[in-house]
Every structure is written in structure tokens, then in C-alpha cells.
Symmetry: C2
Subunit: 213 residues, 2 copies
């Protein structure tokens, strides 16, 4: 059974934005049980964890002697071992893998930029004036993705690991209010969140991360 | 024979920073000839190209009826069709794929940020004050990668598509002067650039993009 490292307390308090959520979702889609090992922010930067993950982040994926990091790679590994996340037909499979990379290399950088602008640089003197520029750059990508999806259910035929990663990235655009500007993308994300596997994964991370009051 | 779309005139004037360089390099590593179709900045944003690439960029990869975009996906496709870019052994292959995603999803976002800070927002009132912050965020990732590489020749055993993408991303840190702060990373990039396949790919894109004086 694979083991994931996850935050002992996610900074999002269980909103499902931490990256282990993506891997949990993939494992639920294919029906693969897993263990989790909780790790603190501090311990993530220590040598024992850096030996598993050179960038000091979560999640990691351990299975026998194999250690993987990077959610794209972990999800691809799961998709190769199990049916249900990538089509068997070679061209359709190559296109689904294209959407995995598009989620992580084209759509995620603008949301990272937004996080920097809204949170990391929130108190800098330029914060207010700069934010609209960052928002507009994100809108360019969201608009292009919206135009490609049109009224499709998923990005290319049946639900795939490409959709899993794209939905996971897109839902981060909800907090700055951008996702709702694109009704077809908002509906696409809602379809992802409605999947039973997503629901199970969400509940599992919430059980650890929900604020205790 | 596959066909790539590439800039008719790259804004880098042939320094090898345009993303078609990565795909050319991969094709040269495996000895696969290819055609190129030149496309202008303007035509990239028109419907005919958007049908191939929803984000209006280069390169695209066409092979029979298959159309791919995203360099990570294209290079993975090439690596699956040919020997030489990914190890055959399953765990080693999974780790090499991990480095492909690490290059594109962990190391590339900071260089995109630097490009925004140095070029796109160069005339904004905050440009000078903000740049050191962006540089320092990039240094965090470069330092972590440098610590993992140590004195290794490549990231994990033999040269792989993970190294190909990592070198391609890292050499973009040379212009803001960051790469040279990490001698082992600078040497790693130089080893990549010294490969005959890299040299052939570089020459091919330079022949199109060199400034005419």
C-alpha cells in the first residue's frame, strides 16, 4: 500500500487546496487504498524529508523502495498502474497527458502568481496597484481554456488524469473570484468536485485539517 | 515525419530559449528527423493555430492525425516512441518522469516570474524594488536543486528527458545572472549544452532566428 506525506495541519484548513488532495483523488478514482504520514512545516525542511523531496514540500509517494514527488509524476504513475485515469488508445492517451502538462505548466503558474500577489506580497507598497495586472494575465489563460472547453463535459472525451489536474488547478481561481467569470469552467470544476472519488478524498483531508474550535 | 510549429522569428534571436528548442533537442537525441512550419506572432493567435494549440503558443507537434502541444507532453511522447530519453527499468523511469515535472512545475514558475519582473513589468514603478524579492524566491529553488544534484553528472543516473527539460529551464536563469551563483548547476547546464544533439538542435533554430544585419 502506498504512503503519502501530507501536512499535519494544512494552511488552507481543509479547503482541499493542498497538493496531497490531487493524489488522494487519483487514488480514490482507481480504488487504491493508501496510508498517510503527517508532517509539519518545520519537518518538511529538514534533511529526512529533503531526502524524499528535494524541494521540501508535500506530497511524497512511497511504494516499496520507490519514492516519487511532484503531483504530476505521482498521478501519472498511479494512472499507469491502474485503469481509469488515462485512455488505453495511444493517441487519446497522449492527448490526455498533454492536458496534465497544460494544467501544471500553463494554467498553474498564473495562480501561483496570484498567490504571490495576494498573500506573499500583500503588504508591499505595490500590492494594490499590481494585483489587477496579475488578474488580467490569469484571465488570458482562463479565457483560452474556456474557449477550448466550450460546452464539453471534460477536456477530451472521457474524464482523465488531465481533467483531474485541471480541475485541481482551476478551483484555486475561485478564491480571487476569477473562476466564476467563466461559467463553463465553473461548471466543469463543479462536475469534478461532484465525483464520488473527489468527495471521498476531500473528506479524508478535511478530517485532518479542519480547524478545531 | 513529425512537423513542429516554430516562431518565424523568435524574440530571443536564436539564443535557444524558445520552447521549440526543447523538442528539437529531444528529436535529435533519438535521431528522428522532423519538419518545421514557421508561424508569426500574429498568426499564433488566429483560429487556425488555436485549433492546434488552445493557448496560442509554439511549439505544436503533428504526426499523422495526432496533434500535441505542451513541451512536456511532446517530449514524453517522443521518449515513448524511441529509446534514449527514459530508462526502461520501471522505477528509474518513474523517477526520470518526476524530474520532467519538477523542471516544468517547480523550477520553471520562478523563471517565468523573473521574466515578468524583468521584462513585462520593467517600466512599472515597483520594478526595481520588487526584483530582488523575485530573485530571492528563485534562489530558494536553485539552492534546493543544487543541494540535490551535488556533484552528480545528471539528476538520476544516465541522461534522461528529465535532464533535457531541467537543463532547458535552468539555462534561462543565466540571463539574470543567477545560474552562475550555483557552480554545480552551471556545470550541469554546460554538460547538457555540450551534447551533440543539443548542438545540432541549437544550430537548426539559429539558422532561422539569427538577426539579419
Amino acid at each position: 500500500m502506498p504512503t503519502l506525506t501530507v501536512f499535519d495541519r494544512s494552511p488552507d484548513e481543509g479547503k482541499g487546496l493542498a497538493r496531497d488532495m490531487r493524489v488522494r483523488w487519483a487514488l480514490e478514482e482507481v480504488g487504491q487504498p493508501y496510508n498517510v504520514r503527517l508532517i509539519s512545516f518545520q519537518a518538511m525542511k529538514e534533511p529526512a524529508h529533503l531526502a524524499l523531496h528535494p524541494f521540501g514540500q508535500i506530497p511524497t509517494y512511497e511504494e516499496g523502495g520507490l519514492v516519487l514527488f511532484e503531483t504530476g509524476s505521482i498521478i501519472f504513475h498511479i494512472a499507469q498502474q491502474h485503469e481509469g485515469l488515462l485512455p488505453a488508445d495511444a493517441p487519446a492517451r497522449a492527448r490526455a497527458i498533454t492536458w496534465m502538462f497544460a494544467a501544471l505548466n500553463t494554467m498553474e503558474p498564473p495562480i501561483l502568481d496570484l498567490t504571490i500577489a495576494r498573500i506573499i506580497e500583500a503588504k508591499m507598497p505595490w500590492a494594490q496597484e499590481r494585483l489587477p495586472l496579475v488578474m488580467d494575465r490569469a484571465r488570458v489563460r482562463l479565457g483560452q481554456l474556456s474557449a477550448r472547453l466550450e460546452d464539453g463535459e471534460w477536456l477530451d472525451g472521457a474524464f482523465s488524469a488531465g481533467d483531474l489536474l485541471m480541475v485541481s488547478v482551476l478551483l484555486r481561481f475561485r478564491i480571487p473570484g476569477l473562476l466564476e467569470e467563466y461559467p463553463n469552467l465553473a461548471a466543469y470544476v463543479a462536475r469534478g468536485e461532484a465525483r464520488p472519488a473527489y468527495q471521498r478524498a476531500f473528506a479524508a483531508q478535511l478530517a485532518i485539517n479542519a480547524p478545531t474550535t
